[in-house]
């Protein structure tokens, strides 16, 4: 888990991985520029660098992001949530950009998402078109890309989650997308905040269990 100055969901993400999922996890400060040796990298939400310039823009130029790009190239699974998604877009690891919410409001509530691709290593524990309840908390989550990019996303089945009732104006109701290679996923909603019944929903846990299961499968196959 990479922690930038201004990350504020790092503890939630850590708790989800460590306690709800029961796996080993470490918080890595952004100035430690090496990320090798991890089986998966999680980029938490927050307001890195106070959202100065554009959300995620300053963080995307930090040295650790060079290391992140190398890991992405190597096929390491990378999940960016909220500000983490913004950083992945600014770093060019995913296509498109995020704009201010259509109605300018910071939104913070549970949203119903639809699983549009359950053939990814992050979503294989879900059913296709399964509806799940995951919280959103953002002011700039309005996903934008040009028509050409959108057509590519559709053709390659890179749209992983859509909103049932689009809360922010995102193109094609997009809530989360994956890269072509299938190892980098970015999404605005927070699955780590939906991993225990006490949090009001456990629907996010399957993302983490999918990831672990797929890692184990590939590890056993390749061992």
């Amino acid at each position: 888990m990479i922690v930038f100055p201004g990350s504020n969901c790092d503890r939630d993400m850590y708790h989800a991985a460590k306690d709800a999922l029961g796996e080993e996890a470490e918080l890595v400060w952004y100035q430690d520029s090496h990320l090798s040796g991890y089986d998966a990298i999680l980029i938490p939400g927050g307001f890195s660098y106070g959202d100065y310039l554009r959300c995620g823009a300053i963080a995307s130029t930090s040295k650790i992001v060079d290391s992140l790009k190398r890991e992405a190239e190597r096929g390491t699974p990378i999940l960016g949530v909220c500000n983490g998604f913004q950083i992945l877009l600014e770093a060019g690891l995913l296509p498109g950009a995020l704009l201010r919410n259509e109605k300018l409001k910071f939104i913070c509530h549970h949203e119903t998402l639809v699983v549009k691709n359950n053939q990814t290593q992050f979503t294989s524990d879900y059913q296709m078109d399964e509806e799940i309840s995951i919280p959103v908390a953002h002011g700039e989550g309005n996903y934008y890309c040009d028509d050409e990019t959108l057509a590519q996303l559709k053709t390659n089945q890179q749209i992983v989650f859509t909103y049932k009732d689009n809360p922010n104006g995102s193109v094609a109701d997009i809530a989360g997308i994956i890269n072509e290679a299938g190892n980098v996923l970015g999404m605005m909603p927070h699955p780590e905040r939906a991993t225990e019944t006490i949090l009001g929903s456990m629907d996010g846990l399957k993302m983490f269990t999918s990831l672990v299961k797929n890692w184990r499968d590939s590890y056993v196959t390749n061992a």
Partner: protein, 83 residues
């Protein structure tokens, strides 16, 4: 010294909710002649005379200052500025 003023604006067709809110507010104040408002950014930089401004500023805009997916940029250079 050279003074570089970089103007960053949203591309045509990209929704600008902030501009829309200002537009509504100006209408409330009675400025009926305002047909559209778009909000952008102005970045001012002072650079050494020796720097190849065109090459460096272009690269800075591409890499960091603007997001080419949603934004356009232009810049003016003022020569012989005393800081």
């Amino acid at each position: 010294m050279k003074k570089v003023s970089i103007h960053i604006t949203l591309k045509e067709g990209v929704l600008d909710p902030e501009g829309k809110a200002i537009e509504g507010s100006l209408a409330t104040l009675g400025y009926e002649g305002v047909k559209e408002v778009r909000v952008g950014k102005l970045i001012e930089m002072y650079m050494d005379d020796a720097v190849d401004v065109k090459a460096e500023v272009e690269a800075m805009c591409q890499k960091l200052l603007a997001n080419p997916v949603i934004e356009n940029y232009t810049y003016d250079v003022e020569e012989g500025v005393v800081s």
